[in-house]
């Protein structure tokens, strides 16, 4: 092997790492270091130690808020998967013009500011809102149903925001599946449900996994929707953190709560990746 080829070999092996450089720089310099500066307040102020964390864990409000946050995010994720899959599947199979109409509809909420959407939902769900007025006018109910200011309303509001992420993630994965795979399975005698379980679903899984990650982690940080569509019982972690930052001006405590959240999510993400690293890739499925 001629000498000159050596550096090319080394470069080729290092190429992925070089490609990763811009991202790593952005993450480390523009994100990680500044964020650590803020989070370090939790252990450095007002005096070095874990007092802020002790206060957080001892507070019964925060325990409730913690569980509410994770419970709501989990529900949002599961419901998103169920709602997104039919739409994504339909979009891969229909004509291009229809598909674009579907995407336009999916993007419409994307383009609407969150506060405006909540405003719209309020009109629909409140006691004197559209649903209640319609139900009563049709004689289906005699009194208004409490839809607004409940956990259901918060889940609905967040799902409405996150759904497009899930739809597009699943669509991207489904689009990459060779339709002949399904045909081949059927010609070999498998019926539709079996084809779905054994061929389509495993190949769509990466899309579902990606979407779930985006939706779950994204949902954890909501505070406007629980504040405006839920009752105080639906307070989520971002609400209490915002309170500490804006009202209490207690940034060390805010950092402590945020740190607990980040650690919890990191553990979940790590577990998720361990489980999911075995997800079949298209190449391996052949």
């Amino acid at each position: 092997m001629p000498r000159g080829a050596d550096w090319r070999h080394r470069l080729r092996r290092r190429a992925p790492l070089v490609a990763l450089l811009p991202f790593v720089l952005v993450i480390v310099l523009l994100f990680a270091l500044p964020t650590l500066r803020v989070l370090s307040k939790s252990v450095l102020e007002p005096t070095p130690g874990l007092a802020n964390f002790a206060a957080v864990f001892a507070n019964p409000l925060y325990q409730q808020v913690f569980w509410t946050t994770f419970r709501v995010s989990a529900m949002v994720t599961i419901i998103s998967i169920v709602l997104a899959y039919p739409v994504a599947r339909f979009a891969t199979e229909c004509a291009p013009l229809t598909r674009n109409v579907v995407f336009a509809i999916v993007l419409v909420p994307f383009w609407t500011s969150l506060l405006v959407r909540i405003y719209g939902w309020t009109f629909i769900l409140q006691r004197t809102g559209i649903i209640n007025e319609t139900l009563q006018a049709l004689g289906l109910t005699s009194a208004p149903i409490k839809l607004m200011y409940t956990e259901g309303a918060v889940v609905l509001g967040i799902t409405h925001y996150m759904l497009p992420f899930m739809i597009f993630s699943i669509y991207v994965a489904l689009k990459a599946i060779d339709p002949n795979l399904r045909k081949a399975a059927m010609t070999m005698g498998a019926r539709a449900p079996r084809v779905f379980l054994k061929v389509t679903l495993p190949l769509a899984l990466p899309g579902i996994v990606t979407g779930s990650l985006l939706v779950f982690i994204g949902s954890l940080g909501f505070f406007v929707t629980p504040a405006l569509m839920g009752s105080p019982r639906q307070m989520m972690l971002a609400n209490v953190i915002t309170f500490q930052v804006q009202e209490a001006l207690d940034w060390p405590k805010a950092s402590a709560i945020a740190t607990v959240l980040i650690i919890a999510v990191s553990i979940l993400a790590w577990l998720y990746f361990r489980l999911v690293d075995r997800a079949p890739r298209l190449a391996e499925a052949r």
Binding site: A19, L20, P22, F23, V24, V26, L30, F31, P34, T35, R37, V38, L83, A84, P86, V87, P96, L97, R99, N100, V102, F103, I105, V106, L107, V108, P109, W111, T112, S113, L115, V116, R117, Y119, G120, I124, H160, L163, F165, F168, S169, V172, A176, N180, P206, T210, L214, I217, A238, I241, T242, V245, A254, A258, V265, A269, W270, F273, L282, A283
Partner: protein, 261 residues
């Protein structure tokens, strides 16, 4: 299944269906359904303090973030896919970090960073801050797309004699297009819609549209807000319908290809 799809789409549209008629209702002190018709909302938007400026600012900022995020996202996605298992796992967590940190904490962090860099209250500051938030979405989506690629297609093309650039342009990129487009879209929307960090890093002349809307809604509802939403919806619909029509024309020009079975 079509019924299910229709229901989900209706769910997605519902709030918008309320807001659009409201934008023609004048000052929103009336109940829904609105009892009057007026263009006050749109007049407020065009002549009001800074709505149009903010729109231009947000579009420019989000557009720049989108381009940068897709470039970095594609590089990173390729890097992750080709790297060793350990690097891959570390990067996977790293990519998620900006999404895991509560935005208001990042707002304070980036405030200090931009103050140090002396770009607080500027377009550049907003681009820096939103790039951090947008890149993870781009990386995750594009990586998903790359992992879904069939490597044998690219190999087939190159064994048939195509050079790597041509392979990329003719084979890889078109297959990656949905993922690239989705990544670009997510990045754009994350940057365009971002309001929490904006609260901290805005300046007198750098006020993105969501911040202006947010301040308006929390302190007093300005009818211009519903006008903006309607305009955005109209543009989205128009662009996508146009793309659909162009695509259809393109398809008629080329013969349909069939994948070899």
């Amino acid at each position: 299944m079509r019924a299910a799809v229709a229901l989900v789409l209706l769910f997605l549209l519902a709030p918008a269906l309320i807001v659009v008629p409201l934008s023609f209702a004048g000052d929103a002190m009336t109940r829904f359904p609105p009892k009057q018709f007026s263009f006050l909302a749109y007049q407020n938007y065009l002549h009001g303090p800074g709505w149009v400026d903010s729109t231009v600012f947000s579009l420019t900022m989000a557009g720049t973030v989108m381009v940068l995020a897709v470039v970095i996202g594609t590089l990173t996605a390729y890097g992750i896919v080709k790297a060793s298992r350990r690097v891959r796992r570390t990067l996977s967590i790293l990519v998620l970090l900006p999404m895991m940190v509560p935005t208001i904490i990042f707002a304070i962090a980036v405030y200090w960073l931009l103050a140090d860099l002396k770009i607080l209250g500027t377009l550049a500051g907003f681009i820096v801050a939103n790039l951090v938030l947008a890149v993870p979405y781009a990386v995750i989506t594009i990586r998903n797309g790359i992992e879904g690629l069939d490597p044998s297609l690219a190999k087939a093309a190159s064994t048939l004699g195509a050079r790597p650039a041509r392979v990329f342009v003719k084979v890889t990129a078109p297959l990656l297009f949905p993922a690239l487009a989705a990544g670009a879209l997510f990045a754009f929307l994350v940057a365009f819609d971002e309001v929490v960090v904006a609260q901290f890093i805005s300046g007198s002349f750098a006020v993105p549209l969501p911040k202006r809307m947010w301040d308006g809604i929390l302190f007093r509802w300005d009818p211009a807000i519903s006008a903006i939403s309607t305009i955005q919806i109209a543009i989205t619909v128009a662009v996508l319908v146009m793309l659909g029509l162009l695509h259809r024309r393109g398809q008629h020009a080329q013969p349909r290809t069939e994948t070899p079975s």
